[in-house]
Symmetry: D2
Subunit: 261 residues, 4 copies
Amino acid sequence: MTVNAIVWGENVHEQRDALVREIYPDGMHNSIAVALNADPAIKATTATLQEPEHGLTEKRLASTDVLLWWGHTAHGAVDDEIVERVVKQVWEGMGLILLHSAHFSKLFKRLMGTSCALKYREAGERERLWAVNPRHPIAEGVGEHFTLENEEMYGEPFSVPEPLETVFISWFAGGEVFRSGLTYRRGAGNIFYFRPGHETYPTYHDETVQKVLRNAVKWAHNPQTSYAAIQELPHVPVESALEPIVHRDPKRFFLPAAGSV
Amino acid sequence: MTVNAIVWGENVHEQRDALVREIYPDGMHNSIAVALNADPAIKATTATLQEPEHGLTEKRLASTDVLLWWGHTAHGAVDDEIVERVVKQVWEGMGLILLHSAHFSKLFKRLMGTSCALKYREAGERERLWAVNPRHPIAEGVGEHFTLENEEMYGEPFSVPEPLETVFISWFAGGEVFRSGLTYRRGAGNIFYFRPGHETYPTYHDETVQKVLRNAVKWAHNPQTSYAAIQELPHVPVESALEPIVHRDPKRFFLPAAGSV
Amino acid sequence: MTVNAIVWGENVHEQRDALVREIYPDGMHNSIAVALNADPAIKATTATLQEPEHGLTEKRLASTDVLLWWGHTAHGAVDDEIVERVVKQVWEGMGLILLHSAHFSKLFKRLMGTSCALKYREAGERERLWAVNPRHPIAEGVGEHFTLENEEMYGEPFSVPEPLETVFISWFAGGEVFRSGLTYRRGAGNIFYFRPGHETYPTYHDETVQKVLRNAVKWAHNPQTSYAAIQELPHVPVESALEPIVHRDPKRFFLPAAGSV
Amino acid sequence: MTVNAIVWGENVHEQRDALVREIYPDGMHNSIAVALNADPAIKATTATLQEPEHGLTEKRLASTDVLLWWGHTAHGAVDDEIVERVVKQVWEGMGLILLHSAHFSKLFKRLMGTSCALKYREAGERERLWAVNPRHPIAEGVGEHFTLENEEMYGEPFSVPEPLETVFISWFAGGEVFRSGLTYRRGAGNIFYFRPGHETYPTYHDETVQKVLRNAVKWAHNPQTSYAAIQELPHVPVESALEPIVHRDPKRFFLPAAGSV
């Protein structure tokens, strides 16, 4: 069974910043897609902000198993309608992986219901990720820890709901910690937030990061049929109740005595 | 220490429907507020949809410890701006109790990030609530179970995130079950969803329901100072890092060899 | 990839009680194993209390992916040493599925750290299981609910830790509810408790129950290498610290001033 | 309302090691008790391994609201019977706070159902604790982070169940991270694990550590009546079912057709 994944990239820094282009000549989204496609069980394509409907048409999403999302400077340019479309697709069972600065995307904030704020510092400092849940599928083959020699720092408190499970926690040279790998379920959709990936560092060329992303795509994939009913509010008539009941007339109900609350 | 609570009521059914008015002559919100004020540790007032800013001015919310919310037929009439105001207040530490049909309010859906859908049937059937977490503060003094002889049925699946803790589960005469008491934290705010309370039944006159509501208000109260920083995204300059680090020039970073991913 | 499963049966009621033998002529464990083997991805064998080491030798467990456990009247006859052996295997990554009265097995209580108590009634009453987490892998293909016309009742409060996720909740004709499908992780091991399965009813002949068991076996399977290190308490010498540090002499530490706490 | 707390100390290092005695002339347990008693809402006394029944008689426990536990070198000397006594008291509602090396106590392992293993290094290195849940009651008044200049390192993976909430995460100078403040509920008992407190460092003289301990005692206190029923397995006779049901004779149940599973 092949997992159909889309790597969605904001694709702005790559156009504007020579350094980013030097690291990711084909854009971050393409580098990530190539890394995913190294696993024959994954078939990854890309989509970007600049495409019509940001490349995420209803038709395309309908056949997508897992969406990865990288955004940063252009969160505000993402169409609210597309965000809602993706949200509903997640509820119905599409997996979602939020990368790095996507913590502040409309999409992640919409699904978390929190501010998703954190602290940050861009100093190219050392980040060491510890697998605190060492046999979680997303940590498979990763070892106890791995190091990214140059990364942006994200520091706690990270204002997100308590996760289902914490998979990674980061140590930063400058003295901070961060919950770097968190899982959630929203409706039928599996969600993973993964911290690393600042555009000015070669993080997505790191083999362990690539391994984590492949693991995460396979973990997030929910092979079941789409849970379209999740937005419905079905009325169950008395006549079709599973146990025989009769409709009781509210008028006959006990009413509070005069003077009581 | 007194807990300042506001009972927010949509206050529409009471105006339109003689039966509801007969059960709650002063409106549901007032009945609930009176029930809360039976505890000297709580000082409850009310607010309604019809008031300017729905009765929820910034000034008033700033001195509110816990907000209770009942809405049903007029969810769409609630101003988005007021919803955002309340959301931010919750993140900063105000407790929030969602009552019955508030499961489908903009407010609850905004904080959960899910559809919050369920099934329903209005037949005045028996509901029995079981305290599955018998010494949770919200279940204090409630006993193992209590019964509401006439209630609307809400049935699973209830599309909400996995809660911090499940406090109550309901049994319905027609054959359904429902997670009737669920706790969440969003930012600094404690949130409790409590299922019973259909407008055509005298639920809020029930002594055990009133007890649960008083318990919930006291549980939801976070006496700490407002966590206003929760929406900030502070930059931590290299110079003020807690551990001495130097800024590393991205240009010097390892770049992938030609031909690699 | 085939999942190697062992169905462990206490195998006492089948020997003593003609009714049970009539329902399960080959024993409950064999009926369950046959049901699992209907899925070509599963290879299930059996083990019983009466075998040497209860059929769970170290060698056999070492090649087992998932263990299912049914016990009731002979919990006390299970060797503590075998319990510890299984516990460690679970920590190292073997999946574990506890069936019905196994809620009170030494094994489940050992892994939960709670009393695992509940209420019960044996009246052959109707049980309806609701999938409250409809696209969880264990609920795949099960539908919104399914009914067992004759079952023993288990009622809340069920004294277990808050689960990772609640998959099923049961409705009973006599008025109780029960969290019937609960997931946990202990170390590298996935654990699922599944309520139905009283010996005097043909529950394990029910097609939906069989489907749930097959789903659960596949869900509980952790294909990663055994996490043998989980019981080790490794010392990390100063010399091999990941960041250069020096040993600081405790004698030089700040001591509290005279008179302070 | 005063919270009755017992600080249980192993009290071995203090007797054997001059350095420890120099830091804690009256024993660690007494230093901690004095720190707790600085809050008029807490009345803390002490108990030690060397006392009859380790100072934890049934009578004394019965009037105890919260127990704090520090042990290290003599875990094996703790009487299994006393451990079970304390476990049951926790289930019935007594709060429990496990300090530092108590992660490996019989008591904590018994309540977690996991190995509770971790890595360690004794180098007097810097530990910085981050409050990742900044308005949790246990983090009240603590600020975003605080530093212990000299502590033993504990490193992940920490083999414990996923907590209800993570309150603190530690950064260590040598490159590790650790979930330093974790909450659990077992039965009616609130449990908090708090990492710092190695005997050769003056950790319990630190004002912020003392503040955390006072917060934790008040948080762990469950003022409700003892939940003695938690170990009972009540039978509910058909005659006293909440809904009228009749006993159905198993003999009349559907039996599988010949040849079926």
